[in-house]
């Protein structure tokens, strides 16, 4: 038996994290953002060591449950869990009982019956992970639900910016592309505005969100801009979003070439931004559609770094969530 008093409580600083699930970051306090950033920094140190593994989550079982295809998010979570010594089982909806008609909640119960303690979930429908969390005994981590939220992406973007800039507060951050249907944009808007940045969304009218500014006070600092040069003027960070081809089919974008002509992030356009501007992209990149190859691989680009940072941030999230489990 392990005694709880094996180390006097007064000598060990405990954290103020009580969340059992990570569904969205819209309710995060600045202290919580801060804690994730600090914890991720330690995890990044661990990743730079010859032995990239710590026993923090030894004996825990984690499942990734993906109803949508994914390379980086799923493998990033899997590696994060493994670096913390957890056991991971990966389920892709396309090759599981989902095909036989098993419902989301039944799948969840089945995983829990096998002892899974954390379920990392991606689903094409907004709110799917919130639904799962209502029924779950395990912890649910949202790895993307429809056009709603992608909290770990926003956290890793925040972490990446903080590696280059002392503060998020006061930065001008431009999100370029289809912010209307992007869960990455939505989560980032919450995170960036909560930390005091001014966010500008830029793209064709049909791909900008409707009624953002009026709906919520948090969004009051969000500007909408259809002119890319005006949007980029004086920007500290530019994040290009992936142009999702299915939007074209939906008729929101009459012609992809028109988008490319007007909104592709090119070196000439980037000159309008600050000289130390950071170029980001959540991936996967459609080269020479939303961003030119030169810019994506250029000196301002931190796109690769975002991927590495994602691993550290997801390790931090998994570690923190395991503590929140008790409440």
């Amino acid at each position: 038996m392990i005694e709880n008093n094996s180390q006097p409580a007064s000598q060990t600083e405990a954290i103020s994290w009580t969340r059992r699930h990570l569904l969205d970051i819209d309710e995060f306090s600045t202290a919580e953002f801060d804690l994730v950033m600090k914890t991720a920094r330690v995890m990044e140190d661990i990743l730079s060591r010859p032995i990239k593994k710590v026993p923090a989550l030894r004996g825990k079982t984690i499942a990734t449950l993906f109803y949508e295809p994914s390379t980086r998010t799923r493998s990033s979570f899997e590696l994060a869990a493994k670096n913390l010594s957890a056991d991971v089982v990966n389920l892709a909806a396309s090759s599981s009982s989902v095909v036989k008609g098993e419902s989301l909640i039944d799948t969840l119960y089945t995983l829990e019956a096998m002892g899974v303690e954390i379920v990392i979930m991606r689903h094409p429908l907004a709110g799917a992970s919130h639904l799962a969390a209502r029924y779950a005994r395990s912890s649910i981590i949202n790895a993307g639900d429809g056009a709603h939220a992608h909290p770990t992406q926003a956290l890793l973007d925040m972490y990446t910016i903080l590696k280059h800039k002392p503060n998020i507060a006061g930065l001008k951050i431009v999100i370029l592309g289809d912010s209307r249907h992007s869960r990455v944009a939505r989560s980032n808007i919450w995170g960036f505005t909560a930390m005091g940045a001014s966010v500008t969304l830029c793209g064709p009218r049909s791909l900008l969100p409707v009624g953002l500014t009026s709906r919520n006070t948090v969004y009051s600092s969000v500007k909408l801009e259809t002119d890319i040069l005006r949007a980029l003027d004086g920007a500290d960070v530019v994040m290009a979003l992936r142009m999702q081809k299915e939007r074209q089919a939906a008729g929101l974008l009459p012609d992809i070439r028109e988008y490319v002509t007007q909104f592709r992030l090119t070196p000439e356009r980037l000159d309008t931004a600050k000289s130390d501007v950071l170029v980001m992209h959540p991936g996967p990149v459609n080269e020479d559609i939303e961003i030119s190859t030169e810019v994506a691989a250029g000196p301002h680009s931190v796109i690769r770094e975002q991927v590495s940072n994602g691993l550290a941030v997801r390790m931090a999230v998994l570690y923190l969530i395991t503590g929140g489990n008790k409440k």
């Binding site: 392990i2 005694e3 709880n4 008093n5 094996s6 180390q7 006097p8 007064s10 000598q11 060990t12 600083e13 405990a14 954290i15 103020s16 994290w17 009580t18 804690l35 600090k38 914890t39 920094r41 330690v42 995890m43 140190d45 661990i46 060591r49 010859p50 032995i51 593994k53 710590v54 026993p55 923090a56 989550l57 825990k60 913390l84 570690y319 923190l320 395991t322 503590g323 489990n325 008790k326 409440k327």
Partner: protein
């Protein structure tokens, strides 16, 4: 304690002091400063955060805050002296040793503690002890240091009471 470390280690240049967070860190720095004062030997000091190696993770109400580990240089082939304030159950020392081994392969690992209060739950002993303080399990032993707490003080008190000097 600094004298003991000097006496038992022929080659002081091979020693690295690793302070175990939190209060082991200033203690390690003080020991290194004393050794420098006596022998004019520079001892490098590192910081070890072993919270991810604790055996009670997940059984506590809240996870401990993880902080960074920093090493002055590689520990391979070096004599690492782990420094902590209180040696009690030995579980922290076990966690610290595991954390250390993941960083490299020291030629030897030693343990220096300011206070040994007994009640070991693991087969661990300290190589250098500032003071043995026999205590009851109902008591808490708390070390305060100027660097972290504003004053130097060792106090023993019954659980639930606030600190009283003895």
């Amino acid at each position: 304690m600094a004298h003991e470390i000097i006496e038992t280690n022929r080659n002081l240049s091979e020693i690295i002091m690793m302070g175990m967070r939190t209060r082991g860190v200033p203690l390690a720095e003080r020991l290194a400063a004393n050794i420098y004062a006596y022998e004019a030997a520079q001892i490098s000091v590192g910081v070890l955060d072993f919270s991810l190696y604790r055996d009670d993770l997940g059984s506590r109400d809240l996870q401990p805050v993880v902080k960074s580990t920093s090493m002055p240089s590689g520990i391979d082939g070096k004599v690492v002296v782990l420094v902590d304030d209180v040696l009690f159950t030995g579980r922290s020392a076990r966690a610290a040793m595991d954390a250390l081994i993941d960083l490299g392969r020291p030629s030897a690992v030693k343990l220096a503690v300011l206070v040994d209060r007994g009640h070991r739950e693991l087969p661990i002993r300290a190589d250098y002890v500032g003071k043995n303080i026999p205590s009851s399990k109902e008591e808490e032993v708390q070390v305060k240091l100027t660097e972290t707490d504003g004053l130097d003080e060792v106090s023993i008190y019954r659980k639930g009471e606030t600190g009283k000097n003895r």
